[in-house]
Symmetry: C2
Subunit: 428 residues, 2 copies
């Protein structure tokens, strides 16, 4: 007999074969209700005393039984058990925390210590269903637009993007680094003729932050596109992606969005405000001073509050960051060359994207490397392709965990990471 997933069970008198874990046992004396959990859902089993002799919470079992309608049961059906077989025993004395209770208030750190136990809760696992569908949407959207998926090296030779925040590796007889981003490689691949590329891969930041929004290892959704007109084309692309994503999630994650009581809007239209304007709004409306050439975490929250009230938008693009605050590859603005053709995307009080048009002229990038106090010869692996007709290009990167967190309104980025890595956590 073929195993059926719980979400596929249909009321019929036929026998089904189910597999899963014992989620809950409700002993009413003569009759015993057992909740069986598999990856797709939870089913009510009707058992006898004898049938449940060898089972306890979390025992992995195989069940044969008949599906019957029962309006009082979850989903309106229950399974009258003919046979239960223990597939895998349990060896615990006590669960580290309840799995079958929604009211559980276990501290996040404890849940992370016992990550695989916490994930047995359907509500926790739902986060990663949404996350995997975000990734699917990202790929489908970009593939439809002729972007090609690439994988670039994470072990790199030089700490070209700022050495202090990089992890060092002992690479045979020398020192290497873990890449902070695929920035240089994705640009190089545009120049190499791919024109449009995306990458889903880990990025590493040795930042000395331990906050609700920082991870030292995270998944970056990177996009880079050649032959662009300007940075607004990139913002349009990202806005279109967010709309595509919302549609995709509504189709594929209905149940998961319901668990988190999330209603995604039908159309996302993202206002674009220059950084300078944003700083002024934050100062004038909320009496909060921003750091020079940027806004801080509190500023991100305030500007989001402002656009929510004014435009009913959860998102806002901040544009035209100053040259001094952007990396060396950022294209300066034509009108005011103290500014750049760059942007950040703030989503509900949190920066989830940095992007912009890049410098594409060989001499201009070389000069900028010198201006930044660095040696052009250290960047030859990167600048070489600029000698051979590097088209105007740009891109952006979205932090997968940040986007997941904000869509589901989670309060800590670790909740949106299967096995998070921070300054203190290397296990599990």
């Amino acid at each position: 007999m073929k195993r059926v997933f719980i979400e596929e069970i249909k009321a019929s008198e036929e026998e089904v074969l189910l597999k899963g874990w014992v989620h809950k046992i409700n002993d009413l004396g003569k009759i015993i209700f057992v909740k069986l959990r598999d990856k797709s859902g939870i089913a009510q089993l009707v058992c006898t005393k004898e049938q449940i002799e060898d089972i306890r919470l979390e025992t992995a079992i195989e069940v044969k039984g008949k599906v019957k309608e029962n309006k009082k049961a979850p989903n309106g059906i229950e399974v009258e058990v003919n046979e239960i077989k223990v597939i895998s025993k349990t060896y615990y004395e006590k669960l580290p925390f309840e799995i079958n209770s929604f009211k559980d208030k276990t501290a996040l750190e404890t849940q992370l210590d016992h990550r695989t136990i916490a994930l047995r809760r359907p509500k926790i696992r739902a986060i990663f269903k949404v996350q995997s569908e975000i990734e699917t949407a990202f790929k489908d959207f970009l593939k439809n637009k002729k972007f090609e998926q690439i994988h670039t090296a994470k072990i790199i030779d030089s700490s070209t993007e700022g050495g202090s925040e990089m992890f060092t590796i002992n690479y045979f007889d020398r020192r290497a680094f873990l890449a902070q981003s695929p920035q240089f490689y994705k640009q190089m691949m545009v120049g190499a003729g791919f024109e449009r590329v995306f990458e889903v891969g880990h990025a590493y930041r040795a930042e000395l932050h331990n906050t609700w929004r920082h991870l030292n290892e995270y998944v970056s959704l990177d996009v880079e596109m050649g032959f662009i007109k300007d940075e607004f084309e990139l913002m349009n692309l990202e806005e279109e992606f967010i709309n595509y994503l919302y549609k995709h999630l509504k189709n594929t994650c209905k149940k998961e969005l319901e668990i988190y009581e999330i209603e995604l809007t039908d159309e996302v239209k993202i206002p674009r405000i220059t950084l300078k304007e944003a700083q002024e709004i934050i100062l004038e409306k909320y009496d909060k001073q921003s750091p020079i050439g940027n806004i801080d975490a509190q500023g991100e929250v305030l500007i989001s509050k402002y656009v929510k009230e004014k435009y009913n938008s959860d998102y806002v693009f901040l544009t035209k960051y100053p040259v001094a605050k952007r990396p060396l590859y950022t294209m300066p603005d034509e009108i005011d060359n103290t500014l750049t053709k760059s942007f950040d995307l703030i989503f509900d009080g949190l920066e989830i994207t940095t992007g912009g048009q890049r410098i594409n002229d060989y001499f201009m990038i070389k000069e900028n490397i010198i201006k930044f106090g660095l040696k052009p010869e250290d960047f030859e692996f990167y600048t070489e392709t600029f000698k051979y007709g590097m088209p105007p290009h740009g891109g952006f990167a979205i932090g997968l965990e940040r986007l997941t967190m904000k869509i589901l309104k989670l309060s800590n980025i670790r909740e949106a990471t299967l096995v998070p890595r921070d300054m203190k956590r290397l296990t599990p």
Copy 2:
């Protein structure tokens, strides 16, 4: 006017806007043929002397012109140019090697030194189109079977899978390692309730090999599945995937397969031979002794030769490896407990997969850890979930670069890696 990709051009008298690189210039005096290359193909432009004044090989240009039929032109059409605009200049004195010649015999190392220049050749870039479609097929195939994509940590605390072949990282004030595989995590996620997971991510091996088939950083296509019957279910799954993949590549990479003169078979039926039988065949038919409990690189070639001749198969599963040669999590065979429920998949003379059923009982895995001379407490992050009903499970991993290489019959794995990392190479 909207830019049109070259592969989308249709013969019509209307004007089109093309963008790309100057691939070839053929000056016939009065008339000049320029080959324009974009990510999708190559088009013949008909230009005048004046129009090409500012262009040379690899200049990035924008072209407006009318599409005309010309039976002598590639694809039967050419573009009569009205206007050429240089988008991005070149600054080279000499190309490191020819881009527009198929006959080029530049050494692989030189091509890798100038990776982004080599990739401008459509033939080289075609490899990565195929690679990205392998990845797409892998995901589509598994998602259809309710597998969920996961991302697990690559920075890990302990060198649990064999320390000498792991890269060490300086992680804040302590030492950490780069994961050799997501093996433990993917098993843990099966137990955590995902049941069926896959991961596409980098794996790191600090092996002191510098061969045509080794990389120190590679992309691993990992699969893990719960509630399985035995390892043969996993082999069936992989066989089904290979068939799915071949169909997918025939649909999506027709041009690329043609470039490499690859004809994929309509049905892949993979013979299964025990390791012992394979060793005997290699000895009896080819007079070649195999190492104890394994076959070596030459043995992989010979057994492939044998199954090709006998079964007309490019693939062969080798099964039942001895306990002594498999990792500590491998499930022993019920009939002969010196053997395991494991397998390798050999494709055209190269191992591309290792897989098998895993131990799923808590005490059994603990005992095995001790048998291997290791400390159970170092593995608690992994074994914890085994206490709570760990179902029978198993999986396999496919090396993405190896699979790409073998499908396209390339001779060196570096050809199937955008930016390869080996003992000597950390750039570009």
